[in-house]
C-alpha cells in the first residue's frame, strides 16, 4: 500500500524517485489518470531522466508520500513512455486549466490536486481552487500560514470534490465515476449559460453539445447573441430548428433576429409550420417595443364557456405555454374583452361562465409602445403579464414579467462581456 493519508500533486511533481538501491532514477514529471471506483486513480507515474520520459506503473511503486517516492524497478528495467492520444495526464490536462465547479455553477482554475490513499491506490479526491493552492505551488504555503497567524487570521481551504468537477477538455469527460455526479447538464440553464460565457468559445460549444434539447433551448436563450450565432451556425439547420422549436416564440424570435438572414431563413424552413408562423409574426416588430418583447403564446378562451370547461381546456393547453397565470377572454373576432387569473378560476363555481368572473377593466398596450412604458405599467399595477392589443382591440400577445426584468436588468451572461 504505497499511499497512506493524503497529499497534493504539487508536493510530488519534480520530486526524485528512488530505485531499490537508493539511487535517483528520475524525477516525477506527470501522472496518468484512469477511471476508478469511486474516483479516478493514478495508473502510471511518468518519470523524467536525462531528457527521456519513462513510465512506471502504479504496481511497480514501493513508497509514495511527501518524503519519499520509490520504485521496485532499477534503471535497466525502466520502460520508455509511448504517448497515446487517450492518455489523461494530471499536470498537462488538469493542473492550471479551467474546470467547471458544478456545485457552485461557475468556472474556476485548478491550482492543485488532492490525492488520497484508498484501497491501495492513489485517488484523485479534490481540486484546490483557492489561494492556498497558489501559495503552495509557489512554495510559500507554510510561510503564509505563519504570517497570517500573526494577525489571528486563517488561510482558508478551498477544495472542490472531484464529483463536483467537470473538466472542460472533451476527452476528460470520459473519466466516469460510479458515484452519482453533478454534471453541468444537470445545472439550471441560466447557470449553464453563465458558465459557457466564461470559457473559451470552443469549450463553450462543447459543453453545449452535451445538453438535451429542452435544456439546450433554455440555455441558448440566456446566452449573448454572438455566442448563440456561433453555436447555431455550427449545427445543421435541422438540429438548430429542433432546439428553437422548444423555445417560447418570443425567445425564438430574439435568437433568430440576431442570426444572419440566410441562416435564420434556413432554420425557419425546418421549424414546424404553426410555430414558424408565430415566430415570423413576432419578428415583424421593433426590438425595444411591446411588440418586440411580447410572446404570442397565451391562454385565451371565449366568454360563454363555463369555469369547468375552461379548466378542462386549460389542462390540455397549459402544457406547452410558458405563462399561464392569466386566462384572457376574447370574443369571436379575437378581441380582448376580459381577463381572469388561475386562482380565480380554481376558486370559482364550476358552473359559472367566464363572462361572470372576468375582470373587464384591463391595462393594455399597443405593439409600438416603448419598453420603458411597458415596464412602468407592469410595475405600477403589479402585473405578471401585460396584454398587447392592436388598434381594434385584437389580442396580439403578452409581455411577461421575466422579459421586462431582462430589459431593466440584463443578466450577466447576456450583457456584453467585459472590457477594455
Amino acid at each position: 500500500m504505497p499511499l497512506f493519508g493524503e497529499l497534493f500533486l504539487s508536493e510530488i511533481i519534480k520530486r526524485p524517485v528512488f530505485d531499490p538501491k537508493g539511487e535517483i532514477i528520475g524525477r516525477v514529471k506527470d501522472v496518468i489518470i484512469v477511471k476508478g471506483d469511486p474516483f479516478p486513480k493514478i495508473a502510471v507515474i511518468l518519470v523524467e531522466r536525462k531528457n527521456e520520459v519513462y513510465a512506471i506503473r502504479w504496481e511497480e511503486i514501493n513508497l509514495f508520500n511527501k518524503r519519499i517516492i520509490s520504485t521496485y524497478l532499477t534503471v535497466t528495467l525502466l520502460q520508455k513512455y509511448t504517448p497515446s492520444k487517450d492518455d489523461l495526464l494530471a499536470v498537462r490536462d488538469i493542473l492550471d486549466k479551467q474546470i467547471v465547479d458544478a456545485n457552485g455553477a461557475k468556472v474556476v482554475r485548478a491550482n492543485d490536486i488532492k490525492l488520497e490513499g484508498y484501497d491501495g491506490d492513489a485517488v484523485l479526491i479534490a481540486v484546490d481552487v483557492g489561494m492556498r493552492g497558489i501559495l503552495r505551488r509557489l512554495g510559500v504555503e507554510r510561510g503564509s500560514e505563519e504570517f497570517l497567524r500573526l494577525f489571528q487570521a486563517q488561510l482558508p481551504y478551498n477544495l472542490i470534490g472531484w464529483n463536483y468537477i467537470q473538466p472542460l477538455k472533451p476527452e476528460l469527460k470520459e473519466i466516469a465515476l460510479t458515484v452519482p455526479r453533478q454534471m453541468v447538464s444537470e445545472l439550471h440553464p441560466a447557470d449553464i449559460a453563465e458558465i459557457i460565457s466564461q470559457v473559451s468559445r470552443d469549450e463553450g460549444a462543447h459543453l453545449f453539445r452535451d445538453l438535451d434539447i429542452e435544456t439546450a433551448a433554455e440555455a441558448l436563450s440566456e446566452l449573448k447573441p454572438e455566442m448563440q450565432a456561433d453555436i447555431l451556425n455550427a449545427m445543421d439547420a435541422e438540429k438548430a430548428a429542433d432546439i428553437i422549436e422548444e423555445m417560447p416564440p418570443d425567445d425564438a424570435a430574439d435568437v433568430l433576429s440576431d442570426l444572419p438572414t440566410e441562416k435564420a431563413k434556413e432554420i425557419l424552413e425546418h421549424i414546424e409550420k404553426e410555430e414558424a408562423e408565430d415566430i415570423q409574426e413576432l419578428l415583424g416588430h421593433e426590438e425595444d417595443t411591446a411588440g418586440g418583447l411580447m410572446t404570442n403564446e397565451f391562454i385565451a378562451y371565449p366568454p360563454d364557456i363555463t369555469v369547468q370547461e375552461a379548466i378542462e381546456k386549460f389542462k390540455k393547453d397549459a402544457e406547452e405555454i410558458e405563462t399561464v397565470y392569466y386566462i384572457y377572454v376574447i370574443d369571436e373576432k379575437e378581441r380582448l374583452v376580459g381577463v381572469t387569473s388561475l386562482r380565480e378560476l380554481l376558486l370559482a363555481e364550476p358552473s359559472a361562465r367566464l363572462a361572470e368572473i372576468m375582470v373587464t377593466k384591463l391595462k393594455t398596450v399597443v405593439p409600438g409602445a416603448d419598453e420603458m412604458v411597458v415596464a412602468e405599467i407592469i410595475s405600477k399595477y403589479n402585473l405578471v403579464a401585460l396584454p398587447v392589443v392592436d388598434s381594434e382591440g385584437v389580442l396580439l400577445g403578452i409581455v411577461t414579467i421575466d422579459d421586462i426584468i431582462d430589459t431593466l436588468l440584463p443578466p450577466a451572461a447576456k450583457r456584453k462581456r467585459r472590457k477594455v
Partner: protein, 411 residues
Amino acid sequence: MNFWKRSVAFLSVIGPGILAANIGNDGSGITTYSVSGARFGYHILWTMIPTTICLIVIQNMIARLGIVTGKGLSALIRENYGVKVTFFLLLGLFIANIGTSVANFAGLAASAEIIGINKYLLLPVIAIAVWLLVTKGTYVIIERILLGACFIYIGYVIAAFMARPDWTQAIRGTLIPTIKWDYEFIALSIAIIGTTITPWMQFYLQSSIADKGIKIKDLSATKADVVIGSLTTDTISFFIMLTCAATLYVHNIRIENASEAAIALKPLAGEYASLFFAISLGNASLLGAIVVPLTTAYVICEGMGWESGLNKTFKEAPQFLGIYTIIIALAGFVVLIPKAPLIFLMVLASFINGLLLPFILLYAISMANNRQIMGNYAISKGYSYYIAWSTVIVIICLTVFLVVTTIIPIT
C-alpha cells in the same frame, strides 16, 4: 461574397488591433517620443520604421494566439507554463503598470496646468471619475469614449504642421538611418521600441480578440486591423517626434518630459500648437489612466483564476476591484505629492517593462510555434517563422542592452 458584405464583415472584426495600438500611445509613450525628438531632431525619425515593422510582426503573432486558442495571453501562459511563471510575470506587470499609471496621471496633471486648471483639483476629480466610470459604467460607453478619444490624437498631426518642420530634412531623417554611437541615442532608440511594444498592450490585444470570439476565417481581416492600428499609432508617434524635432531640437532646447515640450512649443510654433499638444497629451493620459489599471486587473485575475468583471460587487470579485482601485489610488496620490520623484518612477516602469518584454515574447512565440496548442495554425517553417523569431531576438537583445546600461550607471 460581394464587396458590401465583405466590408461589413471586416468592420465587425476590426477594433481590437486599432484600439490596442492607439491606446499604447499614452502619457509615458508621448514623453519618450517628445524627449527623443527634442534631443536628436530629424536624425531619430527613422527608428519609427523598424519599430513599426516589429510591432506589426509581434501583434500578428499575438492576434493569431488569441484567435486560435480563444483565450487571453495570461490564461495561456498559466495553462502552459504553470502558476509560478505566471505569478512572477504578473507581479512585474502590476508594478510596471503602477509606474505607467503614475506617468499617465502626471501627464494629466501637467496638461491641466498648461491649460490653467489646478492639478490638486483636477486629479482627484479625474481619479474618482475614472474609477466610477469603470465600476458603474458599461462596456459600451467605455468603448465609445475610448474610440472617440482616439480621434483627438489628430491634434498631434496638426501641431506638427503648425511647427513648420523642414520637410526635406524630415524625409531624409526618416528614410536614411543615422546612428550616433552615444549612449543616449541608443538608449532612446531602444526606449522608443520598448514604449511602442509594451507588455500590457499585448495582453490587452489578445484578450480583446479572444473576447470578441474572432474566428480563424477572419485571420486576414484581423491582420489588416493590426497593420492599420500599428500604422496609425506610429504615424502619430512620428508626428510627435517631428514636432519636437522641428522646434525644440532646432533651437537646442532640452526637455525632460512631455509637458515641458508643450510649454516650450508656445514661443516657437504658436499658442495653438502648444494648446493642441497639451490637449492631446491630456487626452492620451486620460485614455491610459482608464485602460491601464483596468487591463492590469483583468489580466491578473485571468491568470490567477480570480473572479473579474465590471458588473461584480466587491464581495464577488474582491481581487479585481482591489487591484484596480489600488493602482488608481496609488498613482493619483503619488503624483500629487509635491517633489515626488516622478521621473524616477517612470523610468522604473520602463525598466520593468523592458525586463518583462523578452520573457513575454519568448513565451508567446514558443506557444505560437507549438502544434499541440495551435494545431494546424502553428507558425512553423516559412518566412513568418523566421521573421517572428528574428524580431523577437532583436528586441530581446536591445532590451537586455537597455536594461544593462540602465543598471551600470547606478552601480
